[in-house]
C-alpha cells in the first residue's frame, strides 16, 4: 500500500529551502526573506531564491501569486518592506540613484505587452536608451537598432519608420525584446513573454529566448504561467504561491515534486487547492490526497479537523 501523505495548508504553502550553490555556478541575484505589503495585503511573504549567473530561471505562478511584484523589485521599482534583493554586491533596497542607473544599464526588461511608446517609431523606441542614456550619435543609434532588430529576426529596414500600432502582436513583442537587448545587458527580465500570442509566435519567442541566452550569455529571469514555454526555456523552475517560493529545482525535480499546488498547476486540473482551497485526509484506497469542493456531495471525505480553507 502506498504511503499516504497529508498535504496540510501549512505544508503546501511552506517555503522551499534554499539549495546549496552547485559547483561551477555563481550567484548573480540573491533574494533573501523578501516581504512586501500593499496596505493590509501581504503580497510577498518571505521570498528566498538565488539566480545563478548565465541560467534561465522561470518563475511560475497563478494570478495574484506575487510574480509581477517580485519582478518590480528586481527592476528596482519597488523597495521591499523586509529582506533584500542583491545583484552581485549591489543591494537594490539601499542603492543610490547613480548605482541604480548603472544597474539598469546592465538589465533589460521585456514587458508583457511590449510597452513600446506609441508616439515613437520602431527606430526611436528601440534606440531610446541609446539616445537618452548613452547619448550616442544618430548614425550609431540607427546601426545598433538595425543590428538588434536583426537579432530578433525582424525586417529592420522595413519597419524602422513604423509606429507600434502598425505592427502585429508578435512583432511588437520582438521589438520589445530588441529594445531590451540593445544595451547588451547581462540580465534580462521577462514578464509573461508569451501571453496573448499565437502558438507559432510563442515558439518563436521561446527559441529567441534560448538563443539570446546562448549567444549573449545573459542571465534570464522569466515570469510566466505558460507551462510549455517554461519547460522549453528553463534551466530551473520556481513555483510562486501566495507570496512564497514553494518549490524550486530543475525541470525533472519540479515534475517529481508532489506538492498538490504544483501538481495542479502542472496538470491544469480544475480540482485542487488552487481552485478549491480545501485539502482532505488522504483517500484510504488510493493512498493519495483527495480534494472536495466545500459543497461536495461526498461530505464523508471531509472532516472538520483536517479541512482548511485557503487564504485569498
Amino acid at each position: 500500500m502506498a504511503t499516504a501523505s497529508i498535504w496540510s495548508k501549512e505544508k503546501m504553502e511552506a517555503a522551499a529551502p534554499l539549495s546549496p550553490v552547485p559547483a561551477g555556478k555563481s550567484v548573480l541575484i540573491k533574494i533573501r526573506d523578501l516581504h512586501k505589503r500593499f496596505g493590509s495585503r501581504h503580497i510577498l511573504r518571505g521570498i528566498n531564491v538565488d539566480v545563478y549567473k548565465g541560467e534561465t530561471l522561470v518563475i511560475l505562478g497563478g494570478s495574484g501569486s506575487g510574480k509581477t511584484t517580485l519582478l518590480r523589485h528586481l527592476m528596482g521599482m519597488l523597495r521591499s518592506d523586509e529582506g533584500s534583493v542583491t545583484v552581485e554586491t549591489l543591494n537594490l533596497n539601499t542603492a543610490s540613484r547613480a548605482d541604480m542607473e548603472t544597474y539598469r544599464k546592465r538589465m533589460g526588461v521585456v514587458f508583457q505587452g511590449a510597452a513600446l511608446l506609441n508616439s515613437l517609431t520602431v527606430l526611436e523606441n528601440v534606440g531610446l536608451p541609446l539616445v537618452e542614456v548613452e547619448r550616442l550619435a544618430r548614425s550609431e543609434v540607427r546601426e545598433r537598432v538595425i543590428e538588434a532588430l536583426r537579432k530578433v529576426y525582424l525586417p529592420a529596414e522595413e519597419i524602422l519608420s513604423l509606429k507600434p500600432a502598425s505592427l502585429s502582436g508578435g512583432m511588437r513583442k520582438r521589438v520589445g525584446i530588441a529594445r531590451a537587448i540593445i544595451q547588451k545587458p547581462e540580465i534580462i527580465l521577462y514578464d509573461e513573454p508569451t501571453t496573448g500570442l499565437d502558438p507559432v509566435t510563442v515558439n518563436g519567442v521561446n527559441e529567441l529566448t534560448l538563443e539570446l541566452q546562448s549567444t549573449l550569455g545573459v542571465t534570464s529571469l522569466v515570469i510566466t504561467h505558460d507551462l510549455e514555454a517554461a519547460f522549453k526555456i528553463a534551466d530551473r523552475i520556481a513555483m510562486l504561491y501566495l507570496g512564497r517560493i514553494i518549490a524550486i529545482g530543475t525541470k525533472d525535480e519540479i515534475k517529481a515534486n508532489q506538492n498538490p499546488v504544483l501538481q495542479q498547476l502542472l496538470t491544469g486540473s480544475t480540482h485542487g487547492p488552487l481552485t478549491e482551497g480545501y485539502v482532505t485526509k488522504p483517500d484510504a484506497r488510493s493512498g493519495t490526497a483527495s480534494y472536495a469542493k466545500p459543497s461536495s456531495t461526498k461530505p464523508s471525505t471531509t472532516t472538520p479537523s483536517t479541512t482548511t480553507p485557503k487564504e485569498g
Partner: protein, 279 residues
C-alpha cells in the same frame, strides 16, 4: 434576552450614525483635504520638472511637438471664441453706453477686459480642456500600458522625458495664445462697434489705447504663464497617478479638467487681487 440585545445594538448604531448636516460637513472636509493633497503633490511634481530644465535640449523634439499641439492646434478655436466673446461684449456694453452717449469708451472697456482677464482665462480654458485633458489621457494610457515602467527600467526619468517638455510647451504657447486672444477679442469688439454703433475702427483702437496700459497687457501674460504651469502640472500629475486601467484613464482625464478649472480660477483670484490691490 436576544431581542433586548438587538434593540440595544440598534440604538447604539443609530447614535453613531451622523446626522445629514454632519455628513455634509464631513464630505466637504474630505473633498478639501483631497484637493489640498493634489495641490501638494502637483507642487512637488512641478519642482521636480523644473529641476530638469537644464536638460531641455535633450527633450527638444518632444518640446517642439508639444508646442505644435498646444499652440498651433488651439489657435483657431481660441481665435473663434475670443472673437465671438469680443462681439458679444461689444453688443452688450455698447447698448448700455449708447444710452449715455458714451460709445467712445467701448474700446477701452473691451481692451482692458480682454487684456486683464478674458484673454488669459479663455486661453486657459481652451488649453485645459483641449490640451490638459489630452495630456492626462496620454500619460494615463502610458501608465496602464507599462510604458512609464519601461522608461524607468531604461533609467529614463519620466518627469524629465514627459512632464518637463509638456509644461514648458504650455509656458511657451500660453502667452502667445493669450496675446492672440486679446487682439482678436478687441477686433471682434471693434467690428461690432463699427457695424452697430457706427464707431470707427480707429476711434475704437484709440479708446482702447487710452483705457489700457502696458501693465494691463503684461499682467495678463504673466497670468497666462502661471495658468500654463498649473494646467501642465495637474494634467501630468493626474496622468502619472492613473490606476485601474481604461476606467482610470477616463477618471484621470475628468479630474484633470475639473481640478484645472478650480485651480486656474483660484490662482486668477489671488493674482487679480494682488495686482489690483497692491500694485
Amino acid at each position: 434576552m436576544a431581542e433586548s440585545y438587538r434593540k440595544k445594538t440598534t440604538q447604539m448604531i443609530e447614535r453613531l450614525d451622523p446626522s445629514p448636516a454632519v455628513a455634509v460637513v464631513e464630505d466637504i472636509g474630505r473633498a478639501l483635504v483631497a484637493k489640498a493633497s493634489v495641490a501638494g503633490r502637483a507642487t512637488l511634481l512641478f519642482v521636480d520638472a523644473c529641476s530638469h530644465l537644464r536638460m531641455v535640449g535633450r527633450g527638444l523634439p518632444t518640446l517642439v511637438r508639444q508646442v505644435e499641439i498646444a499652440g498651433f492646434g488651439s489657435l483657431m478655436v481660441l481665435a473663434l471664441i475670443a472673437g465671438l466673446t469680443g462681439m458679444i461684449m461689444a453688443v452688450q456694453t455698447g447698448k448700455a453706453l449708447e444710452d449715455y452717449g458714451q460709445v467712445g469708451l467701448l474700446g477701452g472697456i473691451i481692451g482692458a477686459t480682454f487684456c486683464r482677464e478674458m484673454g488669459p482665462i479663455w486661453a486657459a480654458v481652451i488649453i485645459l480642456a483641449r490640451v490638459g485633458a489630452s495630456q492626462a489621457a496620454e500619460i494615463g494610457t502610458m501608465v496602464v500600458n507599462e510604458e512609464i515602467d519601461a522608461l524607468r527600467s531604461m533609467s529614463i526619468n519620466p518627469v524629465r522625458f514627459l512632464v518637463m517638455p509638456r509644461i514648458l510647451a504650455l509656458v511657451i504657447s500660453m502667452p502667445i495664445l493669450t496675446a492672440v486672444a486679446d487682439w482678436i477679442g478687441m477686433f471682434g469688439g471693434a467690428t461690432i462697434a463699427s457695424v452697430t454703433f457706427h464707431e470707427s475702427f480707429s476711434s475704437f483702437m484709440t479708446s482702447a489705447q487710452h483705457g489700457l496700459t502696458g501693465f494691463d497687457f503684461f499682467s495678463g501674460l504673466v497670468k497666462s504663464v502661471v495658468f500654463a504651469c498649473i494646467i501642465g502640472t495637474i494634467a501630468c500629475d493626474r496622468g502619472l497617478n492613473t490606476t485601474d486601467g481604461a476606467e482610470g484613464v477616463g477618471r484621470a482625464t475628468t479630474q484633470s479638467v475639473v481640478l484645472n478649472i478650480i485651480f486656474v480660477l483660484l490662482a486668477d483670484l489671488l493674482m487679480t487681487s494682488f495686482i489690483q490691490l497692491w500694485l
